[in-house]
Amino acid sequence: MKQPDRRSFLKIAGSSLGIGVLYSAYPAARAGGGTGGFFDSLGQANGEKVAPFSFIQLSDAHVGFNGPPDPLGTKAFERAVDMINGLPQRPDLVLFTGDLTHDTEDRDVHVQRMKQFQEISKRINVPVIKHVPGEHDAGLDGGALYREMFGDTHYSFDHRGVHFVALDNVTRAKPEVGVEQLAWLKKDLARFPKTAPIVVFTHRPLFDLRPDWEWFTSDGDDVMNVLSAYDNLTVLYGHIHRDDEHQTGSVHHYAARSLIFAFPDPIGATGQRKPMPFDKDHPFKNLGIRSVSFNGAPQPGSASLSIDDIELTAREFRGINGVQQLLRNPNV
């Protein structure tokens, strides 16, 4: 069980959704911590009432990819949609951290894939859905089609006192944010005090996780120099098709599992980056549930968050095993 830093304003609570990650923003404001006054003033400043809320991160749906290794197409993505809609408390928003679609050089095919993604995600019964592109969405054409279909590749918005920043580290084709966007980021964040609760969501890791697998951002150090000035900043990302947690200074980085297939643990793995094999008896293997619990009000020196990773199996929901249920019942 991982013990994130107690200063993180995110409470990742309860048994969250299967394949994505459920977050609750329920920080020290309610627990009477030192930042409670700040949240009140932030709410007054931006017109929003600060209140706890939950949100979800989904990543790497790769709509259009049909294996190998994963022959299930969009089944895991559709399962995630059903699970989100079945949550007892509806999340406020969903963040997609890239690779919504699988790349193709045929523009018409890519348009169809993006439309299919939108059709599936439209079924999510959540009022706000935000995206950033992955390199498969935007790497070949500099993001031209993505902007046409989804809008800006980098932007920011506020929700219930939390500032969200969508950062693009894919449209330049290389894994980098670039000088212009870095300048925009500095200017955007300069409006906030260093204690502001901020969530940055992007596709690639902003640190050197595994550069030889292209799991990095080449100007990630420059980005982190900007982000590390803030005490309550969390980075959510995708790209690596597995969950991961990393800390740089006061900033926590959380990677989400994918909705298509998993990659192996980068620590210790040698050679090429290869997808983990598909298990027909456990079709959603490695596409599991992350549950992060808040251990009560933060105490000095103690961790207030803990994370449990629970693997999703299709059997939990239908009573029959593995891929057979998916083949037998396309509505699973």
Partner: protein, 123 residues
């Protein structure tokens, strides 16, 4: 062996060894006696897929893209280049540390881009 035959034999051997050196990516000195290594980038591989350098010795890498734009990235050797589609670039490198490194294409070039890399051994 007559002089003509000897000349032809020698010429043949020189041509054969030169062709062999070219095919295997062996270094050859340029006009300034700096070794040159020719590398080809084509979706989704570099050829040769391994080169060997010497610590402290400067070498010129001449990289040609046979199709689209490719990246040429290896942070420990301070290599961060782009090879425009169909073009050739040259970059000199003087490795400062020994080891075995993985150089990658970091310009997204298609579906199998993620495994487009080459081994750089520095002795």
């Amino acid at each position: 062996m007559t002089r003509m035959k000897l000349f032809r034999f020698t010429l043949t051997m020189v041509l054969c060894f030169s062709a062999l050196a070219l095919l295997t990516g062996a270094t050859r000195p340029d006009a300034g006696d700096m070794p040159v290594i020719d590398i080809t980038a084509k979706r989704f591989a570099f050829s040769p897929d391994k080169i060997t350098l010497t610590k402290g010795k400067t070498v010129k890498l001449r990289i040609h893209s046979e199709d689209v734009t490719h990246g040429f990235f290896l942070r420990p050797l301070k290599l961060d280049e782009e090879i425009p589609a169909g073009q050739t670039i040259e970059v000199t490198v003087t490795p400062q540390q020994a080891g075995t490194f993985t150089l990658i294409c970091d310009h997204f070039c298609g579906a199998n881009h993620g495994n487009m890399n080459m081994t750089v051994a520095v002795e």
